[in-house]
Amino acid sequence: MDLSAINPVLLIASLMVAATPLLLAAIGELVVEKSGVLNLGVEGMMITGAIAGFAVAVESGSPLLGFVAAAIAGAALSVLFAILTQFAQANQVASGLSLTLFGLGLSALLGQSYVGVKPPQMGDIHIPVLSDLPVVGPILFGHDIILYFGIVLTAAVWWVLKYSRLGLVLRAVGENHDAAHALGYKVLKIRLMAIMFGGACAGLGGAYISLIRVPQWTEGMTAGIGWIALALVVFASWKPWRALLGAYLFGGVTVVQLNLQAAGVAIPVEYLAMSPYLITIIVLVILSADKSSAPASLGRNFHASR
């Protein structure tokens, strides 16, 4: 065993990268669920965002343009879900699952000519002085811009949900759509916006995997991150900061366990491999011991005549 081989600074820096796709997808889904809609299609929207972002980044040579395209693609796919569930009144669980299957198939089809292609690199930002600081520099000031965007987005979602009128309306729609409707709020319109926001975030998360974390395109490359994001929202009790904590914990333990393995720590590998899931669940369950619960209208369809 040689723990000195693990560089804590590089470790923290890489766990932030590992956590970002999960964070983006979870924050998006959190807003969707706060509005009372359960969209199980996160995985499908992520993988669609991954290939759309990848394709546009390769064709245009600009990773940023790729991220924009990924957000649009994720949102576009989520509109399909919105049409099915909000206007056609289809079952949300079934529609969400089919959205995932559809997204996986669609991305495989779109991605056929992009296997083995290398995307343009997204440079890390470099702030003079700050980025060169020891320890703090690489951890706080040496990442790509999307990673910071994820943190800013978390803060923004938290603020909007907690303090703004928009957040109040969104929560009202999610808690009791009949009451919100009686007050004159456009329930379907608000839910449509929330669903599109969730789709855009999932698309961004997917593109982060294909453009920065891996970076390449392979079929099925999101490998279940969307499902973990869904679980994370529940365990985080629909609170943005807890989702951030959960994502960093999950990303962190994933990276740490690989580090421990490489350093030859004598813990059986099976325990290390299950540790990210286990630790994240335990911590978030302990945190959610307070009274917070799911939005009351979660998963229920709304129709004005009922």
Binding site: F102, I209, R213, V214, P268, V269
Partner: protein, 357 residues
């Protein structure tokens, strides 16, 4: 599993039921563990499938299902294929071993071919490639090329096939560089690009400047490229898009000749259950071109090893070799028998850590 595939196979099932004209075509099914676009393991099996189609044209009809999880799902997919009239089914992952045996019992007239396993029956053959021969060549290059003397190895599952590869690579790296050290990370997946990329990054952060992988995607290659001064080897497929550096060579699985021969046997009606284990000599294991990033003398040494394995004059597991615990395994000049290799569950002397049990 893509919807289009399901639809195609459903349509084909209908076609089989309806058209008497199709009765004399031989139907060959393939079960894949990853997507055909993985650029590695499954990609090469699918190339084999295409080669079968090209060889026999209208005489055969092939179907495949990709992304089939190892376990009950695999059994369902195989049963479905057999019900749809497949005459020969290739199941292409180690974890399909028991499902293949189970389904084969129910369909005695359907022939099954299971890759990399060791359980056979009257209608189940097994086939595999001696990847460890390719690992010997990789180990030689790795031992010469590493400057930090740390070689990172991304393992998938702790099964004999993977352990053999680690041992073979280590023995040959050690032979040319006594100071070399292997760091091994088990990913517990065949295909998860994000996880494979993380594993590669971790190994690089801990000083490895050579990455060997036994997982299926090209993600570790991309991670090595981003890190700069690191070399890698293509796994299962050439992965030449990452050459000349980081990818300096590769192990290429060439299943096409085998798939064609076995399909022909079914068509001719002389198929028998066999156990095939071919290596560099028979062409089932190919060594991808060694790139210019490798110095000429190292390239020469690697090619010399390859040639001596191909003509049978050298066996990668030739004594004296001790097991990790220091007990004797092979005496001076003794070579390993196939039985021990097929069930290999121990590291050789010098490797650190335990194999997960």
């Amino acid at each position: 599993m893509k919807l289009t595939n399901l639809l195609t196979s459903a349509a084909m099932a209908l076609g089989l039921a309806a058209g008497a004209a199709m009765a004399d075509t031989t139907k060959v099914g393939f079960v894949y563990v990853g997507p055909v676009g993985d650029g590695g393991w499954t990609y090469e099996h699918d190339q084999g499938r295409k080669a079968v189609e090209a060889e026999f044209g209208d005489q055969v009809e092939t179907v495949y299902v990709e992304n089939v999880a190892e376990g009950p799902d695999a059994e369902r997919v195989m049963t479905q294929m057999a019900l749809e009239g497949a005459d020969l089914i290739f199941t292409t992952s180690f974890g399909y071993m028991d499902p293949t045996i189970n389904v084969a019992k129910k369909f005695p007239n359907v022939k099954f071919e299971h890759a990399t396993g060791y359980k056979r029956a009257d209608n189940v053959s097994t086939y595999s490639a001696r990847f460890y021969e390719g690992r010997a060549v990789q180990g030689t290059i790795a031992g010469h090329m590493t400057e930090s003397n740390i070689v990172g190895y991304i393992g998938s599952y702790p099964i004999p096939e993977v352990v053999r590869g680690i041992n073979s690579a280590y023995i040959h790296a050690k032979k040319v560089n006594p100071d070399v050290e292997f760091k091994i990370v088990w990913a517990f997946t065949w295909f998860d690009p994000a996880k494979e990329a993380d594993a590669a990054k971790v190994l690089i952060e801990q000083g490895a400047d050579v990455i060997l992988q036994h997982t299926d995607s090209t993600a570790p290659q991309a991670a090595a490229q981003a890190a700069g001064n690191v070399i890698t080897f293509g796994q299962a497929s050439d992965m030449s898009e990452y050459g000349p550096k980081p990818r300096v060579s590769s192990i290429i699985d060439d299943w096409a000749p085998y798939y064609i021969a076995r399909t022909k046997a079914v068509i001719d009606g002389n198929w028998e259950s066999v156990d095939t284990w071919d290596g560099i000599g028979a062409g089932m294991v190919g060594i991808g071109e060694i790139s210019d990033a490798v110095p000429a003398d190292v390239k020469e040494a690697a090619l010399a090893i390859k040639a001596s394995i191909a003509d049978g004059s050298y066996h990668p597991f030739t004594g004296p070799i001790k097991k990790q615990d220091g007990s004797d395994w092979l005496a001076e000049g003794e070579t390993a028998d196939d039985g021990t290799l097929a069930g290999m569950n121990f590291y050789v002397e010098g490797l650190d850590g335990d194999i997960p049990q």
